[in-house]
């Protein structure tokens, strides 16, 4: 084992780049997941049965199948029907759709926590149902679900390591290539673990800052 500073000099830039990839995937995945989750949660309250059934199926399928299989379906499966995605894009879509199902359940729970009177008082003033949802209900739901949605974001962040299996050069795959040439799995996997810890800790700090900011309300 050489000098630790030399090692950082050699492998550091590669790890940094892989960390940026993880960071980028996570941010984009969270965006996809919130969009899917919100849509599915609202779809479950739709007046149209077909829409409710579709949303229910989505959540049922995602929660009942392994994340890794969902990733494989998107990356290896879709080309068979002519949809070829880059590993990065396939990864973001797969993880986003996956996390979206859990976000949908969180949002659904948040929605049930808002009293009917909140909606009625907005409707009674002349707001449309969509305006009511957007300006009155969802801002309150967001405050309620912030802690659970943080947990979900953290598990999304950790799930990015699954994308090593579809050749996204994120932390895990980068470490594996180094291990293949150096035969030092322990150090390199520890390094990956430490970087993930730093990332999840940052995410937790951001979330608790948001929570403190909005905590003073009813």
């Amino acid at each position: 084992m050489g000098n630790i500073f030399d090692e950082i000099k050699i492998y550091g830039p590669g790890f940094l780049e892989a960390s940026w990839t993880v960071f980028g995937i996570t941010i984009l995945t969270i965006a996809v997941s919130w969009a899917c989750g919100l849509l599915a949660a609202l779809a479950q309250r739709s007046d149209w049965k077909a829409v409710r059934v579709a949303a229910g199926f989505y959540i049922w399928f995602i929660r009942g199948t392994p994340t890794l299989i969902q990733v494989f379906l998107i990356y290896f499966g879709l080309p068979q029907i002519g949809i070829r995605l880059s590993p990065f894009t396939a990864g973001v879509i797969a993880l986003g759709i996956n996390s979206g199902a859990y976000v949908a359940e969180i949002v659904r729970g948040g929605l049930t926590a808002i009293q009917r009177g909140q909606t009625e008082s907005a409707l009674a003033l002349g707001f449309s149902p969509a305006q009511t949802m957007r300006t009155i209900i969802l801002p309150q739901v967001f405050r309620i679900i912030l802690p659970s949605i943080t947990n979900e974001a953290i598990s999304t962040l950790k799930n990015t390591s699954l994308l090593s299996t579809i050749t996204v050069v994120e932390l895990t795959l980068y470490a594996q290539t180094l291990i293949a040439s150096t035969f030092r799995p322990f150090e390199f996997y520890i390094a990956v673990a430490v970087i993930y810890l730093v990332l999840t800790t940052i995410l937790t700090f951001v979330a608790s800052w948001l929570e403190r900011r909005y905590a003073n309300l009813g």
Binding site: G117, E120, F127
Partner: protein, 269 residues
């Protein structure tokens, strides 16, 4: 009565098999203050809520300021979503449970609808809201969140929020029922001052004294119909046996006020 502000004909509403409104008709002239009394389950709240279509009647006709609705779903005059919005924007409503929005300050609660729906410039909306809040004595609380206010204060803000839309008609649905007794007065005072300024008001209430002193007309609901109506005198000299019984129950049975809400007959032995 010259051209009423609000005209309702044969309003019917059922929940499942339970017919709550059995063809109620009513004209309200501008400036009238109409109190609606009756036991719980008599349909009075549903009636009030069908005036701004928070409950859509299954049939009946309505006229209000150029809006004409026929509530039969197959009718061509069935209200469209945008007609409903414009009806509700001109009819203010205050609820038993205040329903202020907890994520907005008092001022934001009052300015939200005028800025979003009437497209009032922000500065003007704030100015008008502050004037309203001064009037109800809560100017100092304008930057507080609702959770920091007492029930009476919240209810006054809820009234200000509705007034900010400059409604032609105000609906009050048991607005003092959730309040601690010592907070009821401040809300009633505000409502009385609105009435004296000529605001057209319909209120569902258990405050018989208030109904007697402030309203121009009293409706007694029983089993989905207006069983008796007239000047507030009917509260002193009720004609129908049902109104006599009702008044007797709520005036002489203080305990029953709370109990009558759930069980009808008091079980205090």
């Amino acid at each position: 009565m010259s051209d009423p502000l609000l005209k309702l004909r044969e309003i019917r509403k059922s929940f499942g098999d339970n017919e709550v409104l059995k063809g109620v008709s009513l004209d309200v002239a501008a400036g009238e203050v109409v109190s609606i009394i009756g036991a719980s389950g008599s349909g009075k709240s549903t009636f009030l809520r069908s005036i701004n279509a928070l409950e859509l009647p299954q049939s009946g006709f309505m006229d209000f300021e150029g809006l004409s609705f026929d509530f039969r779903s197959e009718s061509r005059m069935f209200p469209t979503p945008s007609q409903l919005q414009s009806l509700r924007a001109r009819v203010g409503m205050v609820f038993q449970s205040y329903n202020l929005w907890p994520h907005m300050t008092v001022l934001e609660n009052v300015t939200h609808a005028p800025t979003k729906l009437l497209k009032l410039p922000r500065a003007q909306a704030i100015q008008e809201a502050e004037a309203l809040l001064s009037r109800i004595g809560l100017y100092e609380k304008r930057h507080s969140y609702p959770a920091r206010l007492s029930g009476g204060q919240q209810q006054r803000v809820a009234i200000a929020r509705a007034l900010a839309m400059k409604p032609r008609l105000m609906l009050f649905d048991e607005v003092t029922s959730a309040l601690d007794p010592e907070l009821v007065h401040e809300v009633l005072v505000l409502m009385a001052s609105l009435a004296s300024e000529g605001m057209t008001m319909l209120l569902v209430t258990h405050e018989i004294a208030f109904a007697r002193d402030v309203s121009s007309r009293v409706l007694f609901f029983d089993k989905g119909v207006i069983a008796e109506q007239g000047s507030p005198d009917i509260l002193q000299h009720p004609e129908s046996e049902r109104l006599q019984q009702f008044l007797h129950r709520i005036l002489h049975d203080k305990v029953g006020h709370a109990i009558s809400n759930d069980s009808g007959q008091g079980t205090q032995a």
